[in-house]
Amino acid sequence: MRALLLSTPVRTHFTTLVSVAWALRAAGHEVLAAGSPDVVSAAQSAGLSAVSIGRPAYLLDSVTPMLRGGLRPAHAFGRPSPDAFEISARMWALHARYLLPSYLELARRWKPDLIVCEQLEFAGPIIAAVLGIPAVTHRWSVDPTTAPMRPTVAALLAGLCERLGLSEVPEPVALLDPCPPQLQLPEAAPGMPVQFVPFNGTGSMPEWASAPARVRRVGVSLGQQTLGLHGVPLFRGIMSAFAGLSDVEAVVTVPPEQHGEFADAPPNVRVVAPTPLELFLPGCAAVVHHGGSGTLLTATRYGLPQLVLPQMANMYAVADQIAATGAGIGIDDAASQDDPTAIRKAVLALLDDPAYRDGARELRRAMLAMPTPAEVVADLEALADRRSDR
């Protein structure tokens, strides 16, 4: 079987698909990714070949103009309103319309038996319907967007689908969901469970991570975007929250070129280059993160209590759900995120209150009970066969 992977042009959107792609390949299937150069480089970093379609997306073009005067997205936008999802739906529906002809041409030439796309890549199900093959959509994690975006997306893609000879805007035949059920939003439609496998790029185990921590280690990883979007004061505040904590150390991932900004960090704060989470989270006692799906699920997989400081979009729902499951704390207002006292209080609660550890372990148990990507391949094979038999 041949599986075509489609993703909107954001590295971390594509990364959602990696473990299923590996599983498909390990079962003897062919896998090819397609997307903008952002997707191509993300695919290649996971050992997957890709077809480059279109130009780089420069998605931050739609964020940075709103951040004048040193604002972070958390200040400028905060928790997304229903309108924000509406705007986002329009944007990704347009993306799908523009990319669809190239995707379709590729699919006609490469002849996939299955399309796997992430939750914002709305072109996938349409191409699949035109080709008469199944499409499955893979959620990133906590999914506050699929349901509210659907009406707008369907309305905006109706004409396109009609011109392609489709009687309706097709839905994916399955929605793969890496969230343990209790972590997912209650209002989100139930998906097909698939166990999360950590991948956020490759790297070598750093010296500090290979030795066991002498004190309780807290991993602080706010993703690839947060620091660059006026995040320096936020990082400084988080670091100063650790000052004077005697039996706790923080490991904070920061791109090497910005380490100079944090030369005065407290002695128990180690500023390190971005490192794959799978190499150092197992040695941590808690995690502070921005609510990115990969970090959320990796921390969950290792059973760690989490402090979530959401910065934009679906990250707020991640913070809500971590709090709701008892596996951690969310601090969603920007002013409190900037307050070292609030951060310190939350970190100490995560480390000292066994209820968070129990909550995190419960989530880990639920995650490990989900079928692995390797097991889900059989379901995907069945989906594709069923279609080809028609």
Binding site: W22, A27, L32, G47, V197, S204
Partner: protein, 381 residues
Amino acid sequence: MLSTPFHTHFTPMVPLACALRAAGHEVLVAGQPEVVDAAHSAGLCTASVGERFHANDVLSRKLRPGVRPLQVAGPATPAMLAAGSRIWEMHAKYLLPTYLDLARSWGADLIVSEQMEFTGPIIGAVLGVPAVRHRWGIDALTGPTRESVRLFLAGACERLGLPGFPEDSRWLDPCPPPLQVPDLVRGIPIRPSTFNGAGEMPGWAFEPGSARRVCVCLGRQTLKLNGIGLLRGIVAAFDGLSGVEAVVTVEPEFQEHYADAPANVRIVDPTPLDLILGNCAAVVHHGGASIAMAAASYGIPQLTLPQFMDQFTVGERVVATGVGRSIGTAEQQDDPAVVRDNLRALLDDPGHERAAADVRAATAAMPSPAQVAGDLERLAA
């Protein structure tokens, strides 16, 4: 997962690594920077151990300008194979303590090592965890090196409390049985991969082509080891072959030597084989273990022009099974007329196509890496 410091020694284990990850297991690749690079290119995290190996210090040390290894040493004998592998026995002694510390502190439940990384079985025995050895493909080296490995590593093993080099490891064998060297210890079959790195699908790879397409790929070493002239001869052999077009992978730094290639030859940057081979009617290669397996997987007849070490055995097995042909001497390899005759025979003799189709069927019948990951899980349980 452990590997000696060659990209191509590590790469045959990639499908298994992905299968283990997809089944929810943790995978850590340990090795020198060459292995680290290879693992990262496959999306795997690593522990970097030791310094860069700089293979060409070893491979090209005796070469005069313009002379390639085959012209100095001739086809490899079993004694040469054993001598050439001695370096990996020494490597094992040097790397063993570091690997062992790492395996202990990381808490490995299973060790997978490629066929020339002899530390794997030792570490497995010391830690009491299963160790499996992964062949590259056609395995010309294990037989000739066995005795030498046993003797050379005995002291290191004894100092770790083992009676000797553990020879009871299980093997994983990606080579379909008919192609494999006879008389080897049978391994657990694992369907070979066609993975040799990720890349971008080039536009021409989609075009079915009006002529029969032949892929020419001499690996990463041949050109560097004074093989520019060899490839010029191969390229010239396509001149005037009607109904045939060649796609020749050449690193950008060498492409200037092929500016005058015939019209039916397309010189391209190194491209993942799995993006090319699906549309090819034949493959010309240097007897590399991985490309031979990839060609077998696609059921494509192969012409090998071996240069050193185990590449000659690959050529012999290709000939013995009828899946292709081999040109074994430097003089014949350098004669475009000989190469052209072999290409014609490769493309026109239906026997090769039939044999290649048989091997493809044998390959497809082997368990997938995903299935083998399940077996290994039970082994490590």
